[in-house]
């Protein structure tokens, strides 16, 4: 499993809205830098910088296809983050349901 430092990278990576948008776009398949840069009105170097952070966090990997470099999503680090969250989400979601039922019955 991951470690604390790796988590820090993941959180830093997904804290930025542009990087989250990049991840969102990669959910539909591999893309090149120019394809990724298109809708963002950003330069390719700016997008490349974001991709570097995402790669460092292990969220994105690069596949070389001929002369092209294609970026693909690696969901594993996000799954690890989500695992941590799942426990508390389940607990409080159930408790707030119980609160609703209790309020209905309360004198």
């Amino acid at each position: 499993m991951g470690n604390v430092a790796a988590h820090a990278d993941v959180f830093r990576a997904i804290a930025d809205p542009t990087r989250r948008a990049v991840l969102e776009r990669l959910r539909h398949g591999e893309l090149s830098v120019s394809e990724l840069a298109g809708p963002f009105r950003m330069s390719q170097p700016a997008i490349s910088q974001h991709l570097r952070v995402l790669r460092h966090a292990g969220l994105v990997r690069v596949d070389k296809v001929g002369r092209q470099r294609l970026y693909a999503l690696n969901p594993k680090p996000l799954r690890e983050v989500d695992r941590w969250i799942a426990h508390y989400r389940r607990f409080w979601t159930r408790k707030l349901e119980d609160l609703g039922k209790f309020l209905d019955e309360m004198e």
Binding site: M1, G2, N3, V4, A6, H7, A8, F11, R12, I14, A15, D16, P17, R20, L23, E24, R27, H28, L73, P75, L78, R79, E80, V81, D82, R83, W84, I85, A86, H87, Y88, R89, R90, W92, T93, K95, L96, E97, D98, L99, G100, K101, F102, L103, D104, M106
Partner: protein, 152 residues
């Protein structure tokens, strides 16, 4: 960076009623966990769960704001309840703020979609995860990010 989880619920009850359920020891015990809570800032108390949860009251502003620390041995966080009176009853916002999670907390598996679809960021750079509507039973959930949920 801190991680925040927030839940928003609407209850068709007066704010005073919800406030009592949050701040009266015996009522709190009936829906949350047995406890020795007292509505006094600085009061230290324990929720007798499995594991036991050590807490300290950090804010009491009747009838709208209750905050306490929460240490369950795995994570230290701040739990904040905010109540707002609405035309239909009461809106409850529950916020759990934790320092970055520790790796050994990784347990159950859910979906990656939940992470991407529910993340928002506030001006301080903190991440917020909004619990999904399907997680809740009787209540509405305020979800500012309802994106498509395609699977990866």
């Amino acid at each position: 960076m801190k991680l925040r989880l927030i839940w928003r619920r609407h209850y068709p009850h007066a704010t005073g009623r919800v406030w009592r359920a949050l701040t009266e020891r015996d009522l709190l015990a009936q829906w949350l966990l047995p406890n020795d809570f007292a509505p006094i800032v600085g009061h230290e108390f324990t929720f007798m769960g499995e594991p036991r949860i050590r807490c300290r009251v950090t804010r009491i502003d009747a009838p709208s704001h209750l905050e306490f620390t929460w240490d369950d041995g795995e994570v230290e966080s701040l739990i904040a309840f905010a109540l707002i009176e609405t035309t239909e009853g009461t809106r409850l916002d529950l916020t759990m703020t934790a320092e970055q999670p520790r790796a050994w907390l990784e347990e159950a598996l859910t979906r990656i979609d939940a992470v991407l679809d529910n993340l928002i960021q506030d001006q301080a750079g903190h991440l917020w995860l909004i619990s999904k509507k399907e997680d809740s039973c009787p209540s509405k959930v305020g979800s500012p990010t309802t994106g498509a949920s395609s699977r990866i």
